[in-house]
């Protein structure tokens, strides 16, 4: 467990350091994530301590999100002023994006499979 947490912290640390050093616009934690992914691909497998740590961290994710989410208390005015725009953007935007992505990928996959049959 501790080894798993340590692995995550070290990868985040490396990512944050690289972001600072090269003045990258990408968040350090994301660089750390990409490095961990490459590390796992090269290593060809994960290890138990990492599996356990990831399981616990992702299980309690909402608890880590809550402190920032409570910040919504400072945004009631914005939400009230732009309620209609926000509602339309979320409802219509999500609906058409889902239609677009699902249909696009479905067409691409059936085209690919047709190619294979020929």
């Amino acid at each position: 467990m501790l080894k798993g947490i340590l692995t995550l912290l070290v990868f985040q640390f490396i990512g944050e350091c690289l972001a600072k050093l090269f003045m990258l616009k990408v968040p350090g934690a994301i660089i750390g994530m990409v490095f961990l992914l490459l590390f796992l691909i090269l290593r060809k497998k994960s290890f138990h301590a990492l599996d356990t740590s990831v399981f616990w961290l992702l299980r309690y994710l909402p608890l880590f999100i809550l402190p920032s989410a409570v910040g919504i208390m400072t945004q009631f005015d914005t939400i009230a002023n732009e309620a209609l725009a926000i509602l339309c953007s979320l409802v219509v935007g999500t609906f058409i994006s889902l239609c677009f992505s699902a249909k696009l990928m479905d067409i691409l996959i059936s085209k690919k499979e047709q190619c294979h049959e020929h």
Partner: protein, 236 residues
């Protein structure tokens, strides 16, 4: 008895806010499970509805609350790194449909951002709201980190992400039936791409294959949005 000392201790110690936050979350999990794990009763949303009235009624500034719980917030970083593991476990699925995945990831991902921001623009919404909307389709830990990075309003972004996830779950099966989507890979991938973690959990109910492609889409869109969005915003 010194009630004044007691009150000032209670309102200033991180213990109060930690106990409140964890108990509210626990109640949230309880309600969610009692409601048959219906996506509308997300533990986080229930917890928020319980915490907000207390913090507002006690006249505690958000900064005070946030600073008391800063160490919880800190774990978002390691949790983001942790997302490499589910992505690694599903990465072999890329080989099956490399071209469809790459095209849908970039074209579909861009469409999700532009459609939402475009609608806000048509309504004449403020720039801060538009910026906070750009992260709506990526998973919350990455969304928070990116929102901080691009100068969006983090709590608005979280709200938009949560609502997008719920809507994705609600629309999913309706859209797939209506558009006659045949491939489970396409169903799962679009759910993960548009509706992140909530979409992925609803893809589990379609099939194992759909769930794998949803997890893949969520991971890939999280990474690429986090890399490309700050650069795009920088040049605006």
């Amino acid at each position: 008895m010194n009630t004044e000392a007691l009150l000032s201790y209670v309102s200033s110690t991180p213990l109060t806010w930690l106990i409140l936050t964890i108990s509210a979350y626990k109640v949230g999990v309880f309600v969610y499970e009692k409601m048959g794990k219906n996506a509308l009763f997300q533990p986080m949303i229930i917890a928020l509805l319980l915490i907000l009235p207390v913090v507002i009624y006690a006249k505690i500034p958000f900064q005070t609350y946030f600073q008391s719980l800063h160490f919880l917030h800190f774990f978002l970083g390691p949790a983001t790194v942790a997302l490499a593991l589910p992505l690694y476990k599903n990465i072999t699925y890329i080989k099956a449909y490399f071209v469809p995945i790459t095209i849908t990831l970039f074209v579909g991902g861009l469409f999700a951002i532009l459609s939402a921001v475009g609608i806000l623009y048509l309504f004449g919404a403020s720039q801060a709201t538009m910026l906070s909307m750009t992260t709506k389709s990526i998973t919350t830990p990455i969304g928070i980190i990116v929102a901080q990075d691009i100068g969006a309003i983090v709590s608005l972004s979280i709200g938009f992400i949560a609502i997008t996830g719920l809507l994705g779950v609600l629309f999913g099966n309706v859209v797939f039936k209506w558009l006659n989507i045949k491939s489970d890979a396409a169903k799962g991938f679009s759910l993960g791409l548009v509706a992140h973690a909530l979409g992925t959990s609803s893809a589990v109910e379609i099939s194992e294959n759909a769930a794998a492609f949803a997890a893949l889409a969520m991971g890939l869109s999280g990474v690429f949005t986090a890399i490309l969005l700050p650069i795009a915003v920088h040049f605006l």
